[in-house]
């Protein structure tokens, strides 16, 4: 009894803590349409500073489209139409003129690893260089720090000059994470980052994410329900283009939410 009380207190603390920190990313009535049909319908919630915000849901739920909208990647995809409002630090991103500036503050890790056909070093040094950093010593520090955080340094430190696209799938995935970290982003979006990574390495990266939370805001899209439970402060459940639930993660998993579909999904009864 005492134990469960303590948990409850803890949870409310977390709740209060997150409620108090300012909104990093505001989403209001967001809808995304492709030529083939809607991908996301009327989603609204706030993501707060220094939280890990989990998004779970089966395939075709609109999770990846959501991330693309935040990063203004719709520019690549003429068929993608975005309605509603997304604010980043209070600024409406659809009205941002320098999209490149916005993107440089948001790090993305794609579900499929993308090792650019540059050397491992250049892959990680790309973002700082784009930002104008030329100092070799500073670049070295950034490259080592980011690769270490992505749990890749030990494996590649002796071959920083070999091509990033020649690494194994799991290594490329971690290289992608290191590259996203090298931007020094304020918001890090991870789209099923552990898809090609072994469980031990996944745990190492998860630990890093927990640390990073103190500095930045993280959106974690994941197929692994338990990963969301381990990491996320709050979690949203997307299903077929709708946001079914947004709640403090433990509430979602202990069933303290109204929607039956959420309960079924987290308990593995469908999806």
């Amino acid at each position: 009894m005492v134990g469960s009380n303590a948990v409850n207190e803890d949870r409310s603390l977390v709740k209060d803590g997150t409620e108090q920190s300012p909104v990093k990313l505001g989403v209001e009535n967001l809808s995304i349409h492709y030529e083939t049909g809607p991908a996301l319908q009327n989603v609204s919630f706030d993501i707060r500073k220094n939280e890990i915000f989990g998004i779970i849901g089966p395939a075709n739920a609109g999770k990846t489209s959501f991330l693309k909208a935040i990063n203004r990647m719709d520019m690549f995809n003429p068929g993608m139409k975005i309605d509603g409002k997304i604010t980043f630090d209070g600024t409406d991103i659809s009205k941002v003129r320098n999209v490149y500036g916005l993107r440089s503050r948001i790090g993305v890790v794609f579900p499929l690893p993308v090792g650019l056909p540059l050397s491992v070093y250049d892959n990680v040094a790309l973002a700082p260089r784009l930002a104008g950093l030329k100092n070799k010593a500073e670049l070295n520090v950034i490259v080592e720090r980011c690769l270490t955080r992505a749990a890749l340094w030990d494996e590649v430190k002796d071959r920083l000059n070999s091509l990033g696209s020649m690494l194994s799938g799991g290594q490329q995935q971690r290289l992608t994470i290191a590259r996203a970290l090298s931007q020094d982003p304020e918001l890090l979006m991870l789209d099923e980052f552990s898809i090609a990574v072994d469980p031990v390495t996944t745990m190492r990266i998860e630990d890093v994410l927990k640390e990073l939370k103190n500095e930045i805001t993280i959106i974690l899209v994941t197929n692994l329900v338990q990963q969301a439970r381990r990491l996320a402060d709050r979690t949203a459940f997307f299903l077929e283009g709708q946001c079914v639930d947004v709640a403090v993660t433990e509430d979602l998993f202990t069933g303290e939410v109204s929607d039956q579909r959420t309960r079924d999904y987290v308990e593995g009864r469908f999806g």
């Binding site: 690549f76 540059l118 260089r129």
Partner: protein
């Protein structure tokens, strides 16, 4: 029991060659013949020109004179000399200038078509470029002769407009469309996820192209350039018409020159088969063959080096 017999009949099936097996073998052989024939033809051509040029190589040939003398006087009554240095200089200077013209044009067009143009603009440009590539070289030569020649005389106030500048520009414009096509293919072969990954880092479109797309397409772009160089060395009609066809080591772009290929084209029909002149022309052919071979070899080594790095 029944099962048993079926199983055993299956095992014996492995030794029976059925229709699919024969078709497969036949296709393998056909493909092999197709592949090997290209090599056989090239070796055949090389043997033929070597045989025709052999007499000259064994008899009249002096390495020093042939490659280092600028005097090509094969029809001289007193003493015929066969020096192709001036011809090499002519071909090289025209090709060099042509590449200076063609590389910026073709790379620029390819980058625009592959990275910036969309929809109808893109289709229109692609079709136009392919149309340009289909213009016969004699038409280009005609443009050099009839349009560029007076233009150069007017603009630069020089006595003759048929020179390195004229031929270089004509050859550059001629090589640009095919180089554009190849370069565009190379750029299009760079997967979009590379572009997206770089854009996600906050790279501008030019940064994406410069830092990611061009390095990724490096090999294909090098291939496009070398194709242009090969075209420059091999092109005959346009350079014959636009260079002025005068034996000369060019001191400036306004000097007339003569190309290796143009020499063969212009003189081979008028030489007696088997004469030293005839054989010397074939030796030029061998030289051209070797030059192209060396260029391709260097390209291959460079591309391999790029891959390793």
């Amino acid at each position: 029991m029944n099962k048993q017999t079926r199983a055993s009949s299956k095992t014996t099936d492995f030794d029976r060659l059925n229709r699919d097996w024969y078709i497969d073998k036949a296709v393998q052989i056909l493909v092999f013949i197709g592949g090997i024939s290209a090599i056989v033809f090239i070796i055949g051509i090389f043997i033929f020109i070597t045989k025709e040029g052999m007499g000259f190589l064994l008899g009249d040939f002096s390495f020093k004179e042939f490659f280092l003398s600028p005097n090509w006087r094969p029809t001289s009554e007193n003493k015929a000399t066969y020096g192709i240095l001036a011809l090499i200089a002519g071909t090289a200077s025209v090709t060099g200038l042509a590449m200076l013209v063609a590389i910026p044009f073709s790379l620029g067009t390819a980058i625009f078509i592959a990275e910036f143009a969309t929809g109808k603009t893109r289709e229109f440009l692609k079709i136009t470029v392919e149309l340009l590539a289909a213009i016969p070289s004699v038409v280009w030569g005609f443009i050099g002769l009839a349009i560029m020649n007076p233009l150069i005389i007017d603009i630069f106030d020089v006595p003759v407009g048929l020179n390195v500048l004229n031929a270089g520009i004509i050859l550059g414009l001629m090589a640009a469309p095919i180089m554009t096509s190849i370069a565009e293919d190379a750029l299009k072969a760079v997967p979009d996820r590379y572009r997206e990954a770089a854009e996600a880092l906050g790279a501008t479109r030019w940064q994406v192209i410069y830092k990611v797309v061009l390095p990724a397409a490096k090999n294909g772009l090098l291939g496009a350039v070398l194709l242009g160089v090969g075209r420059g060395f091999g092109e005959t009609m346009a350079v014959l018409m636009a260079t002025g066809h005068a034996i000369n080591i060019p001191g400036s772009v306004f000097d007339s020159v003569r190309a290796l290929t143009a020499t063969i084209a212009a003189e081979l029909g008028e030489t007696a088969v088997g004469s030293p002149h005839y054989k010397a022309l074939f030796t030029i052919g061998i030289s051209l063959f070797l030059i192209t071979f060396v260029i391709n070899l260097i390209a291959d080594l460079v591309v391999r080096g790029v891959k390793k790095g």
